[in-house]
Symmetry: C2
Subunit: 323 residues, 2 copies
C-alpha cells in the first residue's frame, strides 16, 4: 500500500464519491439488484481508471461532478462485462470474492449484467457530452467484439499481433477512454485529447502485460488461482511468447508454434516452470516498461502540478507492482 | 396485409433504410457477428416502432438521417433484449425462425446480445441529442428491471397493477421512446413531446394487450405455440384477469386468486377453454381500444397531414389486428 500513497491520497475522496454513485444505481429498482450490486462492488479492485480520470480532469479544469459521473459509468461498464465474463467462464471467485453466477441463476446473472450496462449508459448520458457518449459506446463495442473474437478463435495462438489486439480490446481500450473522457469533458484541445488518449492506452497495455506476467511469476496463494492459468486455458501471453521466440528447441514451444495446444497437464507444468525460471519474465517487464515510458512522454502536454506527479507515480506503480 | 397498406406504404423506404443500417452494424467486427445479425434480423417483425418514429419525425420536421439512426438504435435495443430473453427462456423459435441460442453456445449468445446493446448505444449517441440518449438509457433500464422483476416474482399473480406495470416495462416503454425521440429530435415544444410520449405509451399498452389476447384467441398454427402459453407458464394476462373477476366461482380461478398456480395440465386446459369461450376476450379488446382512443386524442397536437392519418391508421391497426 505504501507505493500507492501519493496518488491514491490525492483522489481518495473522489474515489469514495465514485463508489457511492455506483452503489446508488440500483436504488428504485428491484430490491435484489441492490444485494447484487453490493456483492459485485465488494470485490472492489484498484480503481486505477477513475484515479486517472479524476487526476487528468482536475488538471484540465473539468467539472468535478461530471468527472465523478463518467468515472462511475466506466467502472460500471467494466463491472457489467466482468459479470457476463464470469458467467461464461463459470468462474466462482473474483479477487477472492464469490462471483454473482456462483450464487444466482444464469438468467438472473445475464439480466444483472444487462442492468449494469443500462445504468452505465445512463451515467454516460448524464455526463452531458456527445463526444464522451460516443467514445463510451465505441469502447463497449471494442470490448465485446474482443470477447467474441476470443471465444470464436482457436486456443493456443502464438502471435504478437493477436496478443496486442487482444489486450487492447480487453484492457487498454477502457483505460484510453478513462483518460480521453477527462480531456473531452475539459474541452481541451484536440492535441491534448490525443495525448491523454495515448497515455491511457499505453498504461492500459502495460497494466495487462503486468497482469499476464504475474500470472506466471506470482504464487498461487496471492493469485487466488493456479500459476500459469492463462497458458493452461490455451491463452498465450507475453511471457510465453518471449519464451517461445528464444527457445525454439523446446518441444512444447514447437507444438504450440505449429498451432497445436499442449494438452497433457504434466507437460504444461514443465513448460510453465521453464517460463518462470527463464529470462522471459524479466524481458516482458522490460516491454511493459517501454509502454509506461511512452505514457510518461504523453504527460508532457500537461502543466507541472501535484496531479501530474501523481499520474507519473501511478504509471510507475502499474509497471512496478507485484500484486 | 391490406390493412397495413397506407401507413406502411408511406414509410416503406424509411424502414428499408432502418433495416440496412441495422444490418451494417456488424461490419468491421468479428465475421460470425454478421451471420448472427442476419439470422436475428431475418425474423423481422412488424417494425411498428420505426414507423411511428419516422411518421412523427416527418410531421415535426426532424432530420431524416437522425430519425433513421434512432429508429435503428431502438430496434437493435429491442433485438438485444430478445436475444437474451430467448436464451434465458430456452426458446428455440421466434416468429417461426430459429433463435440464436438454438444454434449458438450460451456464451456466444450472451456476448452477441451485449454486442447489439453496444451498437444500439453507439447509434443512440450518433443521434447527436443528449435528451434522446438519456431517454434511450432510461428505457433500457426500465426494460431490464422489468425482466428482473418478472424473474424474481412468483408466478400466477393475478393483479391488474402488476399486469400494467409489466406490460409498460416490457412493451409500452419502448413505444413511448420511439414516439418521444422523434419529437425530441424535432426540437418540438415540451407540450408536443409529452403528447407524443403519451401516444407511444398508449399504443404500446394496447399492442401488448392485443398480443396477450391473441395468445388466447389465436390458433396454435398461427401463434406458433400452444394456445394460452402465457397462462401455462403462470403469467396472468388481461383476458385471464377479466375472466377471474367475473367468474369467482371457478375452482381454478379461486386457486390462482388465492396465490397458487394451477399445475395440473388438464385443469389448465379447461381454464383456457373457459377463457376462450367466455366474454373476457371481447372485454379485453374493449380495454385495449380505450388505450387506442387515448392515443388518438394525443395526435390532435399534430397538424392534419397524410402522416397524421397514417398514425391514426397505425393505431387502429394495432387494436384491430388478429395476427
Amino acid at each position: 500500500m505504501n507505493k500507492l500513497a501519493a496518488f491514491s491520497l490525492l483522489v481518495q475522496d473522489d474515489i469514495r464519491e465514485v463508489e457511492t454513485l455506483m452503489r446508488s444505481q440500483a436504488q428504485g429498482y428491484h430490491p435484489d439488484l441492490n444485494a447484487a450490486l453490493d456483492l459485485i462492488l465488494k470485490s472492489g479492485g484498484k480503481r486505477i481508471r477513475p484515479s486517472i480520470t479524476m487526476l487528468i480532469g482536475r488538471i484540465l479544469g473539468a467539472s468535478h461532478e461530471r468527472l465523478v459521473i463518467i468515472s462511475s459509468a466506466i467502472e460500471l461498464l467494466h463491472t457489467a462485462t466482468l459479470v457476463h465474463d464470469d458467467l461464461i467462464d463459470g468462474a466462482l471467485l473474483r479477487r477472492g470474492m464469490p462471483t454473482l453466477n456462483s450464487q444466482w441463476s444464469p438468467g438472473a446473472t445475464v439480466l444483472t449484467g444487462d442492468f449494469l450496462f443500462a445504468r452505465a449508459a445512463k451515467l454516460a448520458a448524464d455526463s452531458n457530452s456527445i463526444p464522451v457518449m460516443n467514445l463510451f459506446a465505441k469502447t463497449l463495442t471494442i470490448i465485446v467484439n474482443g470477447e467474441i473474437t476470443q471465444l470464436f478463435t482457436s486456443r493456443c495462438i502464438a502471435s504478437r499481433e493477436d496478443y496486442e489486439r487482444r489486450i487492447f480490446a480487453k484492457t487498454a481500450s477502457l483505460f484510453e477512454t478513462s483518460a480521453a473522457s477527462a480531456a473531452l469533458l475539459s474541452e481541451a484541445s484536440q492535441h491534448i485529447v490525443q495525448a491523454m488518449n495515448d497515455f491511457g492506452r499505453n498504461i492500459g497495455m502495460a497494466f495487462q502485460m503486468i497482469d499476464d506476467i504475474l500470472d506466471f511469476s506470482g504464487e498461487q496463494a496471492t493469485l487466488g488461482k493456479p500459476v500459469g492459468s492463462d497458458l493452461r486455458q490455451g491463452l498465450i501471453t507475453l511471457p510465453a511468447l518471449l519464451y517461445f521466440e528464444q527457445h525454439p528447441e523446446d518441444d512444447a514451444a514447437q507444438e504450440i508454434l505449429s498451432g497445436k495446444c499442449v494438452e497433457e497437464s504434466q507437460r504444461v507444468n514443465v513448460l510453465i516452470e521453464s517460463i518462470r525460471s527463464g529470462d522471459s519474465i524479466r524481458q516482458a517487464r522490460v516491454e511493459a516498461r517501454k509502454y509506461i515510458d511512452q505514457a510518461l512522454e504523453s504527460l508532457a502536454v500537461l502543466p507541472a502540478s501535484i496531479e501530474r506527479s501523481a499520474l507519473e507515480e501511478l504509471a510507475n506503480y502499474i509497471v512496478d507492482r507485484d500484486f
